[in-house]
């Protein structure tokens, strides 16, 4: 167990810089998730921590020691790969014990470690099989088992569940969560699935184009996104963005309006606005409540409703042609073309300057 520190980490392939100065602090025992769109550099960052890619510039510390130039095996990490990367010519037992065999651990210790990992992952009955005789989920367990027996300071996962089907993914997600509770080791987990990120993480790091957009506790990021990108990236369905113009800037609030939106004052959260400028107002679909046509502040016409029983998802067109989504926590009937109005609490809305 150990803390991990990234200081101004950079990575270039030739002339292209793909990681552009990343600072991240990972506390001892913390579960940190890197999320971001495809190609933003999540895997590259993880592979640099693992030692599989050179660090072009910056400092990487694990447990207080600078490890930039250390071999992967000497960094105290274990990695679980997206493709599992278990050895097809070895049995499950040999796969799980591989690192111990390499390091000439005594037979008794090795057997104890393998038995322990097999017990944690409930795969005692699989130990003598070959990978070709395992399902995808079972292979993933083997890969995790191989990581467990090394007793690493830091576990690294690169999209470990992306090759599994939806149901299995949920099971394995919970198991990984439980594993973290049981082992208490630091874990760094890469995914582009925001549900995995929200449910597993102590801390989420949102990346875009090789830069950290925001880092913090899942609920912090969900309720207080620092910018439009984070606001739109976390949450499903994603946050509605309404183009507005700023009519008044107060000490703690900013007042905005648009043809579809009656003037409303929302928290400014330290962001700078000037009167008359255009801005974006973000409201999550779940926070919109339908009200009588003259009562609400957001007005539009229904385009489509999807009734899911427990929830109704409504597509609404605003006066300027842009679309928003409302997720209503009850079964409701709304017909296309019908005029609707919504209300929402001002402190659940986020204003971002253009």
């Amino acid at each position: 167990m150990a803390d991990v520190k990234l200081r101004d980490i950079r990575k270039s392939y030739g002339a292209t810089e793909v990681i552009k100065g990343v600072d991240i602090d990972i506390a001892d025992g913390e579960f940190v998730v890197f999320v971001g769109p495809s190609g933003c550099g999540k895997s590259t960052l993880l592979r640099m921590i693992a030692g599989l890619e050179d660090i072009t510039a910056g400092t990487l510390e694990i447990d207080g020691v600078r490890v930039n130039d250390l071999e992967p095996s000497r960094r105290g990490i274990a990695m679980v790969f997206q493709s599992y990367a278990i050895f097809p010519h070895m049995t499950v037992r040999e796969n799980v014990a591989f690192g111990l065999t390499i390091n000439k651990v005594s037979k008794a210790d090795k057997e104890a470690a393998v038995a322990n990992a097999a017990r944690i992952l409930q795969m005692e009955h699989l130990l003598d099989r070959r990978p070709s005789e395992l399902s995808g989920g079972q292979r993933q367990r083997v890969a995790i088992g191989r990581a467990i027996v090394r007793d690493p300071k830091v576990f690294l996962f690169d999209e470990p569940l992306s090759n599994l089907d939806a149901a299995l993914r949920m099971d394995m997600r919970m198991e990984i969560g439980k594993l973290h509770q049981d082992l208490g080791a630091s874990m760094i987990y890469v995914t582009h699935d925001q549900v995995e990120a929200m449910t597993l993480a102590d801390k989420i790091v949102v990346l875009k184009d090789g830069q950290v957009m925001q880092a913090g506790a899942p609920m912090d990021l969900y309720h207080n996104p620092a910018n439009l990108f984070v606001a739109g990236f976390l949450g499903a369905p994603s946050m509605n963005f309404i183009p507005v113009s700023v009519t008044e800037v107060g000490p703690d609030t900013v007042t905005v309006s648009s043809p579809s939106l009656d003037a409303i004052s929302v928290p400014r959260k330290g962001r700078d606005f000037t009167t008359g400028q255009t801005a974006t107002l973000g409201v999550r679909p779940q926070y919109l409540r339908p009200v009588g046509a003259d009562a609400g502040m957001l007005h539009g016409t229904v385009v489509l409703t999807e009734r899911l029983g427990s929830e109704t998802v409504v597509d609404v067109k605003l006066a300027n042609g842009s679309k928003i989504i409302a997720a209503l926590p009850q079964d409701m009937v709304m017909s296309p073309g019908e005029a609707v109005s919504f209300t929402f609490a001002p402190d659940q809305a986020h204003a971002f300057p253009e």
Binding site: P72, S73, Y84, I86, H89
Partner: protein
């Protein structure tokens, strides 16, 4: 419907078997001719070539040609020499070429791609063009043996083995195969603390069955069929391989029966090798077919 498609299936299967049998027969006939002829006296052998009798054990059948062949030439010695030279070369070649290819495929070093390009370029150089320079080279090379330091490698086994160990084709085959292995397998082994040698030994080579078999067969054929090189570097009978040994039968009279007997004998190691490789090939495919 069901019966029609079943019939159809049966018919297609029958056609396939007929075609495969025909192909097998075409390939087997020369061998059959060789073996049958080796059992016949020369004059009958030549007469039989005019008819299908050439492929049948008919007429004056016996093993005289074999006893004659053994008394004309040291057949056993030649076969021993060829098997020794071929076997040692194949083993060393598989080992050294796969090691080189491992470095080309997995390690990063300056000039790597250029050097690989040069090695692959050597594929287009025919052996005949370098035979004479190579001869001049090996005739002066030093060697430390039981008798101490000597110069010149002519009339030895090593002159037939060492120049043939490394070759561009074998390296290229291994490089291609290694590059197709999942990169994450190698990385996983590195994270687990395996040294490059351990990765080679425990991860890459156990998965290299198919390319080992291919490279071994190609190398075996080249080595077992060696003719020009041993002809110019070996003058002593005691180091002579089988193909050069064939000359013994083309002297004043051409003894076709004995030639056929000799050819039959020297074909046995080839067939044995093929059978072994076929087994190894199939089992290695079975164990690596599913990637982890």
């Amino acid at each position: 419907m069901a019966t029609i498609s079943a019939d159809n299936h049966g018919l297609r299967l029958a056609v396939r078997y007929v075609v495969l049998t025909l192909i097998a027969v075409i390939f087997i006939f020369p061998l059959l001719f060789m073996v049958m002829s080796s059992l016949k006296p020369s004059d009958q052998l030549l007469r039989d070539t005019a008819s299908l009798r050439a492929f049948l054990p008919v007429g004056d059948i016996g093993f005289d040609n074999y006893t004659d062949a053994f008394s004309r030439a040291p057949v056993g010695l030649f076969v021993f020499n060829s098997v020794l030279v071929t076997g040692v070369t194949v083993l060393l070649s598989l080992f050294l070429c796969s090691l080189a290819a491992f470095s080309f495929a997995f390690l990063k070093w300056k000039g790597r791609d250029l050097l690989l390009g040069i090695i692959i370029a050597t594929l287009i150089v025919p052996f005949e063009t370098i035979a004479i320079p190579l001869l001049l080279l090996v005739s002066k090379l030093p060697w430390i043996g039981l008798e101490g330091l000597q110069f010149g490698w002519l009339n030895t086994y090593r002159v037939q083995i060492i120049p043939w160990i490394a070759d561009g084709l074998t390296v290229f085959l291994f490089v291609q195969y290694f590059k197709d292995l999942p990169r994450e397998l190698i990385e996983a082994a590195r994270v687990e603390g395996a040294s490059w040698w351990q990765i080679y030994r425990r991860v890459v080579m156990p998965l290299a069955g198919p390319v080992l078999a291919t490279a071994a067969i190609l190398k075996f054929l080249v080595m077992y069929n060696q003719y020009l090189w041993p002809l110019i570097v070996v003058q002593q009978e005691s180091y002579r391989p089988v193909m050069v040994g064939l000359q013994y039968f083309f002297q004043l009279d051409t003894a076709w029966g004995e030639i056929m007997a000799y050819l039959t004998i020297i074909t046995v190691p080839v067939l044995a090798f093929y059978l072994v490789m076929q087994r190894a090939f199939i089992s290695s495919i079975a164990s690596t077919g599913v990637k982890g």
